[in-house]
Amino acid sequence: MSNLQLLFDAPILCVQLLVDGILIGAIFALAAYGMALVWGVMNVVTICQGEFVMLGGYTAYFLYKAGVHPLFGVPIAAALLFAFGWALYRAVIFRVVDGDLFISILATFGLSILLQQLANQLFGADVRTAESGFRTLFFFDGMVTVSVVKIVAFVAALVVGVALLVFLKRSRMGQAIRATAQNARAARIMGVDTTRVYAATFGLNAALCGAAGALVAMTWLIHPYLGLPYTVRSFMIVILAGLGNVAVVLAAGMGLGAAENFAGFLLGAEYQAAFVFALLVAILLWRRFWLGRTRRYLK
């Protein structure tokens, strides 16, 4: 807790933590929005969210090794992960749509273990990063440092988010996805091919996570086991923000990023992951008591 004193002595550190947190938060929000999309449309909770992030990160990393700038790796990772998500739906996920939610959690948990162990076998357990070669900016006489790559990643996350929104609002498939989310049976009667919609939704989710992963590889580090915290963060953001609203998802993501940064600073980095998991439990409990006052429960 000695770091708390430090924060009071040098309030400028707060700015540093806040800025860093908000910039990471947009990336969390991308993965979270994917989860919300799949949950809302297909009623499936995906625990392998973080593994898609990890795979997107490795795509960007290997492209970087082949000489492609990591920023161009983002759309390529998204495209590849879209195909991967589509294939995964066709192979596995279609069996758990409309089923027991617990079965979908367990099945995607199995997928998550499978993917992370495969990545560990194929790519090795080393920590890697895709060097983007951007500068670092200094503010307030060097008290606050912001690397340009984080800002670029932040902007890229926003661009991906806006592109998704436009896609959902304007395109034919986007409208079909929204219709299926409202009422799958009615959509089917009206001639929507819901199987295709489900596959596209799951692909979109994977693509969003893939883009987030490429940004993570560019800004921070990737390794085969990074997945679970991202899944848990997505879940937290979805619980806080609900299934529909992109702006709220983004705000929740940034808030989470900032909270996590502060916690990491105050409690020490070794407790940061513990904080993420504990915060999940705390948020769920808070929701429960909040709803319990009106005799409702989380459904």
């Binding site: 909770v45 625990i47 596995v92 069996r95 758990v96 939610l101 617990f102 079965i103 959690i105 367990l106 099945a107 948990f109 199995g110 997928l111 273990i113 499978l114 993917l115 162990q117 495969l118 560990n120 076998q121 679970l228 848990v232 879940f235 619980i239 020490g268 070794e270 407790y271 992951a273 513990a274 998991f277 504990a278 999940l280 439990v281 769920l284 409990l285 429960r288 319990g292 429960y297 989380l298 459904k299």
Partner: protein, 330 residues
């Protein structure tokens, strides 16, 4: 009465075999000890997951807490080996129950997938927390005291200890399921709102059920910590991706909501998993991921669930869950 006699013979036969195993196959004592651990895992998970419909990924927390509690008592109590061990086990059970009571009153109000995810978070939070806390050795873990007896005595001692625990767990749960408690938690599984409307104190029953699970998990944790001799926070004590998921899987594989299902599932799973370790070294965890998927997607009813559908008459009155015939009447 016939199925009951048969079950008694089966139990007796298995027990004789289990008691004789250290003489028959001394080299496999540790592996078979872990089979007992797996059976306890599956049975205690099934109390919530199968009988009560609350799917927990976080039961491994009680296991880890028990393990650490016992190790800390052994380290700091300053007693001889066996008094310290038994005191440690008592403390482990007490702490696990206390934790289950506190957590249960909050978490068990969550339903369905929220409970599952919250307990998932709980398991990992505990692991991360334990690997940051210096009092219990942080990331480098803890070492339990050396067993005082002759070489090989440790394996035999903990073999019998875990066997005794397994049998106790099985008998206690069988007794509980056959009474009012079993009916109450089954009612909660089938329709919680209705059960509450009928006047059941659902939260009390749910918390009690979790406490029963936690007791046995805490005791098992204490014994396993000493059997292995080394406690790693993430890979042994709070091993969410392995033990935490396996207990779910074993219960589902055997058939959840039955008494013998988890036992059967644990046995099948444990043997499969040992074979993976032997023949697929390096790829065993990949194979396990595939196995999870296969079981969940293609075999969610489990072995006993399948057998029950296939030969409903063999299961007699104990598990008659078939829908009422259409013509009704009596």
């Amino acid at each position: 009465m016939r199925p009951r006699t048969a079950s008694r013979w089966l139990l007796g036969g298995l027990l004789t075999l289990a008691l004789a195993a250290p003489w028959l196959v001394p080299a496999y004592r540790t592996q078979i000890s872990f089979l007992w651990v797996m059976i306890i895992f599956a049975l205690t998970w099934d109390t919530l997951g199968g009988q009560m419909g609350y799917n927990s990924f976080g039961n491994v927390v009680f296991f880890g807490v028990g393990m650490y509690a016992c190790a800390v008592v052994q380290r700091d109590a300053g007693l001889e080996y066996f008094p310290a061990l038994f005191l440690g086990m008592a403390v482990a059970a007490a702490l696990a129950v206390a934790l289950a009571a506190v957590l249960g009153s909050g978490l068990l109000g969550l339903r369905g997938q929220y409970f599952a995810i919250a307990t998932l978070g709980l398991g990992f939070a505990a692991g991360e927390f334990a690997s940051g806390w210096d009092f219990i050795g942080a990331g480098s873990g803890m070492v339990t005291p050396l067993y005082p007896g002759e070489v090989g005595g440790r394996e035999s001692f903990f073999y019998y200890l875990l066997l005794a625990l397994t049998v106790t767990t099985f008998l206690v749960l069988r007794r509980l399921y056959s009474g009012r408690f079993g009916l109450a938690i089954n009612a909660i599984r089938d329709d919680e709102d209705k059960a509450e409307a009928m006047g059941l104190h659902t939260t009390r029953y749910k918390t009690t059920a979790w406490c029963v699970s936690a007791t046995f998990l805490g005791l098992t944790g204490a014994a396993v910590g000493n059997l292995i001799g080394f406690i790693d926070p993430r890979d042994v004590a709070f091993a969410g991706p392995t033990f935490g998921v396996w207990m779910v899987l074993m219960a589902i594989l055997g058939g959840k909501g039955t008494l013998w299902g988890p036992v059967l599932g644990a046995a099948v799973f444990h043997v499969t998993q040992e074979l993976f370790w032997t023949y697929l070294l390096g790829w065993q965890r990949v194979a396990l991921g595939l196995l999870i998927l296969a079981i969940v997607l293609f075999f969610p009813v489990g072995i006993l669930g399948w057998a029950r559908e296939r030969w409903p008459e063999r299961f007699g009155h104990t598990v008659d869950e078939r829908p009422e015939p259409a013509e009704g009447g009596s």
